[in-house]
């Protein structure tokens, strides 16, 4: 059993962000206050913006006088990162390089695959940063995907070696505000036993109640929803999320049970799911699912309350 609490994490108040110092800082560009604030204030010899096509930024919206990566064609998640490393001349990285990645504005499938990509590039340690908002703009009605979800599918790099389906199969959904995402994922694997992981403590006190409300609205799509269906882990601690998943799933019969994971809540929760998978579940009957949407809202939150720093030790990732 892995003890994820050994991994380093700390919280930094907004005023202290300017004291953070790295050789390379990577962040996904969007219009949220907290993303811009972190980018401006972190000290780094080199900063690179990632421009996700899902945000549909036009040329004139893009940051001026900044290095950015913006693919011109449609790429899969892995292709996206491999192209990025190539264009940024990072295909073989000096392990001593101090790297930070702000995942706050990053697409979930991308932030989830990035640790594995960086490991292959020779990176051993990387700080993943995530800034907490003060609130979401539409409260419990906030929708992050703009427009409709196009399909639910496995995330590249997180596809398992599955057995034939059975009534033992499990789906764990990391739920957040967007009830439609929970509904679509649950419906996609409607024959599984469903569990819902909620952020508790949540990023802000009211957010837990709001997430519960959203889950209640998807009850009909979740199988046998009851008290036993819920898992809890702190919303801003991906290592605890990984721990909770590891502890819960270790009770399943891994010789016969297919496990599906789907983090549709906060980015730090998504990182926790990914970290669990990369450390424990590679080459097992475990897959990560995601409801892909072509477009995302650029600005869903206001304010910044704190910056979480999670140091990933990439040697922990299973070799296969």
């Amino acid at each position: 059993m892995i003890d994820y609490s050994l991994l380093a994490r700390r919280d930094v108040p907004p005023a202290e962000v300017m004291h953070l110092n790295y050789d390379l800082f990577i962040s996904s560009f969007n219009s949220s206050d907290r993303v811009g604030y972190t980018y401006r204030n972190v000290q780094a010899a080199r900063k690179i913006w990632i421009i996700h096509p899902e945000y549909q930024y036009r040329d004139e919206d893009l940051p001026k006088n900044a290095e950015f990566f913006r693919p011109t064609e449609k790429l899969s998640v892995a292709e996206f990162w491999l192209r990025f490393l190539s264009e940024a001349a990072l295909t073989q990285v000096d392990p001593a390089l101090r790297i930070a990645v702000d995942i706050t504005g990053m697409m979930r499938p991308h932030l989830m695959l990035l640790p594995l990509i960086l490991k292959h590039a020779g990176v051993r340690y990387v700080d993943f940063l995530y800034s907490d908002p003060a609130s979401y703009v539409a409260g419990n009605s906030t929708e992050f995907a703009r427009g409709e979800v196009s399909h639910v599918a496995q995330i590249e790099g997180f596809e398992g070696l599955h057995f034939s389906p059975s009534e033992r199969d499990v789906l764990v959904i990391g739920a957040g505000y967007d009830k439609v995402l929970v509904q679509l994922v649950a419906d996609h694997k409607r024959a599984c036993r469903h569990y819902v992981l909620l952020g508790l403590p949540s990023l802000q006190p009211h957010m837990y109640q709001e997430s519960q409300l959203q889950v209640a609205r998807t009850e009909e799509w979740l199988n046998s929803l009851g008290e036993d269906s819920f898992l809890f882990s702190p919303a801003n601690n991906p290592f605890m999320t990984a721990q909770v998943l590891g502890d819960h799933l270790s009770r399943e019969d891994s010789s016969r049970t297919n496990i599906y994971l789907s983090p549709v809540g906060s980015k730090s929760q998504a990182l926790g799911f990914a970290w669990y998978y990369l450390c424990e579940a590679r080459e097992t009957a475990t897959s990560m699912l995601f409801p892909f949407a072509p477009f995302y809202s650029r600005e869903t939150s206001s304010g910044i309350t704190r910056l979480g720093i999670f140091t990933l030790e990439l040697d922990w990732i299973q070799d296969i």
């Binding site: 292709e79 409709e148 398992g160 070696l161 009534e167 009909e220 199988n223």
Partner: protein, 668 residues
């Protein structure tokens, strides 16, 4: 009082095999014989198609090996021989077929790989069943027979994989392990291609050879399996893309006994009947049969009603909630109704005098607006009063409006004639025209009274729930689940002897179920958004028609159309509404007597009716063509343009019944 909800489980997937067996209710045809919707011994492949909740998965799992095993009273081989088949059930979602795409690999490579993967997958499943049979009590297959079986399957490979034990001593489980290992190797290759950029699988057999060969070997090598169909129960076909479906269609076309297919799919999930066999297309009744579950139920309405009653009673009995329940109808309260719904209507309008009732005030305003004559308006209102029978007032007003429309305007003579006609209903010999007026319009006028007086339209009665279900049993279960929850919330004792569920709980539950259906039935993606918009426009239009001064069609939830003039996106949208169960197609298309073009008829799914205060039963039909049809289904037409286009129709139904609007623009 138990707070257990006997309808908590609404999906077959939520049931264990034991629960499937316990809760299964057979659908019987009119003569009382079990209706054979799907026969696993029929050599003709079958597509079992329909909406979510039609009972496909339930039925297919019922035919599966694991349920055969539960039913077996002696040994499983005896049971299989008795049944004449062994059912190999699986869900296509288990293939995670989305991953056979992209990642820098061309489509033809993926298709070839998928075909091989599918063959191995089906082989693995068949072998799992064979292993279980072999290990079951009372089954005594000799090693020699098993070795023959194993050898014959290994011979199906062009490049045989390695086996860790000699074939002569190998068990079926060893063979299963070989196939599982091959699948894992493929999984690794497929999963890692994104990062490695390489996909070099070893394809060890020709398409179809394994699938058909293993079934044949099962039947020839293993005692007791001779003459047995190996029926592949392929569920959730909609999870395969068009190329993947072509491959399965090819297997169906090229099938070899004893392998057989029953394929379950959502209606919208049937992407093609094309095959990879020289461009041939599988044709219904030639290469396969197709059964739409809802149509099978709809063809036997009485049987479906009995089926629903049995379903409910079984749930109550199994859950222990009401073991002695024998009649379902009595479990639900209804609002006792006299001929003119007097009690109900008086409760709606309150104790104010007739002239103060909302429908009377509205009448006054309309006559005054049309004539400027207060005295005339007041006299007409007085003439149409039936203070003890608010419903008759509504009918009289309706008749008056009908006469207004035909003549030059509102006049006292028309009011008097309308009043006299309706008054005959209070005599022993009502006029035939009055009886027809009442028979046609009473429910719509009652509905108008509810809405005008800001009260929610009630939906109650088990018969209505069956109607609402649209022949999808799961919809009925969802309705009952929501009703039960509301009943408990309101402090009632649902399903206790002598205490029927209140009309309020029923109505609230029905509304909740309607909202669920609207969310659940919608397709994913932009198509879902377009479909949602179209249904909102259509439902809104039907509502405005029903609650107009002079509705033209009785309880109108159905429209006919020639479908002409729709854009490609509009056609896509309309077809998606049908395939996803938001519209029901009424299959009696008649040629239009003027133009000769075939008219299609579609009903708004009755599950959605409560969202728009519409009736669940189908009666009148209105025509939608040209601009109006486009305005509803074409995604490029926004809501305000839609309003402008349908405005003339609505104006003709509301006093003063003209469609002239000097501000109207011509859009098309």
């Amino acid at each position: 009082m138990s707070n257990e909800n006997p309808f908590a489980v609404t999906k077959a997937v939520d049931y264990t095999d034991n629960q499937i067996a316990q809760n299964f209710v057979s659908f019987e045809n009119i003569a009382g014989r079990p209706s054979v919707i799907a026969d696993p011994k029929n050599p003709m492949p079958l597509f079992l198609v329909g909406g979510k909740g039609g009972g496909r998965t339930h039925l297919m799992r019922r035919m599966s090996y694991s349920l055969q095993k539960l039913d077996a009273t002696t040994n499983i081989l005896t049971k299989i021989r008795h049944d004449g088949y062994v059912g190999v059930y699986f869900r296509c979602s288990g293939l995670n077929a989305n991953r056979f795409a992209g990642k820098g690999v061309d489509t033809s490579t993926w298709n070839a790989l998928f075909a091989y993967y599918m063959d191995l997958w089906l082989t693995q499943l068949t072998l799992e069943v064979a292993v279980d049979i072999c290990e079951s009590e009372g089954v005594d297959w000799h090693q020699a027979d098993i070795a023959t079986f194993v050898q014959s399957v290994m011979d199906l490979f062009d490049t045989p994989p390695e086996m860790s034990v000699p074939i002569t001593t190998a068990g079926i489980a060893d063979l299963h392990n070989v196939v599982s290992r091959l699948l894992r190797e493929l999984d690794r290759s497929i999963n890692n291609v994104a990062l490695t950029g390489r996909l070099e699988p070893v394809i060890r057999s020709s398409p179809g050879r394994l699938v058909f060969g293993v079934s044949k070997s099962l039947a020839t090598a293993l005692p007791g399996m001779e003459g047995i169909f190996v029926t592949l129960l392929v569920d959730e076909f909609e999870n395969l893309n068009i190329d993947q479906q072509r491959y399965l269609n090819t297997l169906i076309r090229e099938r070899e006994a004893p392998a057989n297919f029953i394929v379950g799919s959502r209606r919208w999930g049937l992407r093609t009947f094309e095959t990879l066999s020289g461009g041939e297309i599988n044709k219904q009744d030639n290469e396969f049969e197709l059964t739409v579950m809802e149509d099978a139920y709809a063809a036997n309405k009485k049987s479906f009603k009995s089926f629903c009653e049995d379903l409910v009673l079984k749930r109550l009995q199994v859950s222990g909630t009401f073991r002695n329940a024998t009649s379902v109808v009595d479990l639900f309260d209804d609002l006792s109704s006299d001929k003119f719904f007097d009690l109900e209507c008086k409760a709606l309008v309150g104790s104010s005098p007739s002239c103060d009732r909302k429908h009377m005030s509205s009448l006054y305003d309309k006559v005054f607006d049309a004539t400027g004559n207060k005295d005339l308006a007041m006299n007409i209102v007085s003439e149409l009063e039936f203070s003890q029978h608010p419903l008759l007032e509504k009918l009289a007003i309706l008749k008056f409006y009908q006469m207004w429309n035909k003549s030059a305007g509102p006049n006292l003579a028309s009011a008097a004639a309308a009043s006299s006609l309706v008054a005959s209903l209070l005599t022993k010999r009502p006029q035939k025209e009055a009886a027809t007026l009442l028979g046609h319009w009473k429910l719509d006028m009652l509905a108008q009274l509810y809405v005008e007086n800001d009260r929610k339209l009630p939906y109650y009665g088990f018969e209505h729930f069956i109607e609402m279900s649209g022949y999808l049993p799961r919809n009925l279960l969802i309705i009952l689940k929501a009703i039960t929850r509301w009943s408990i919330f309101l402090g009632e004792s649902p399903f206790s002897a002598g205490t029927p569920i209140s009309a309020k709980a029923q109505s609230e539950g029905v509304r909740e179920a309607a909202a669920w259906y609207a969310r659940d039935a919608k397709p994913v993606g932009d198509l879902g958004r377009n479909v949602d918009a179209a249904i909102r426009k259509l439902g809104g239009l039907m509502r405005r028609m029903r609650y107009s001064d002079k509705p033209v069609e009785v309880s109108c939830v159905t429209f006919s159309t020639d479908r002409h003039g729709l854009s490609k996106d509009g056609e896509l949208c309309l077809d998606a509404c049908i395939q996803h169960g938001l519209l029901l197609e009424i299959r009696d298309g008649q040629p239009d007597r003027n133009s000769g073009s075939l008219q299609h008829r579609y009903q708004l799914n009755p599950m959605l009716a409560p969202l728009y205060d519409l009736p669940t039963a189908r009666r009148g039909t209105f025509t939608l063509q040209g601009d109006e049809l486009r305005a509803i289904f074409d995604p490029s037409v926004n809501h305000s343009d839609f309003d402008r286009i349908v405005s003339p129709r609505i104006k003709r139904m509301n006093a003063p019944f003209t469609d002239f609007d000097e501000n109207q623009e011509v859009l098309f």
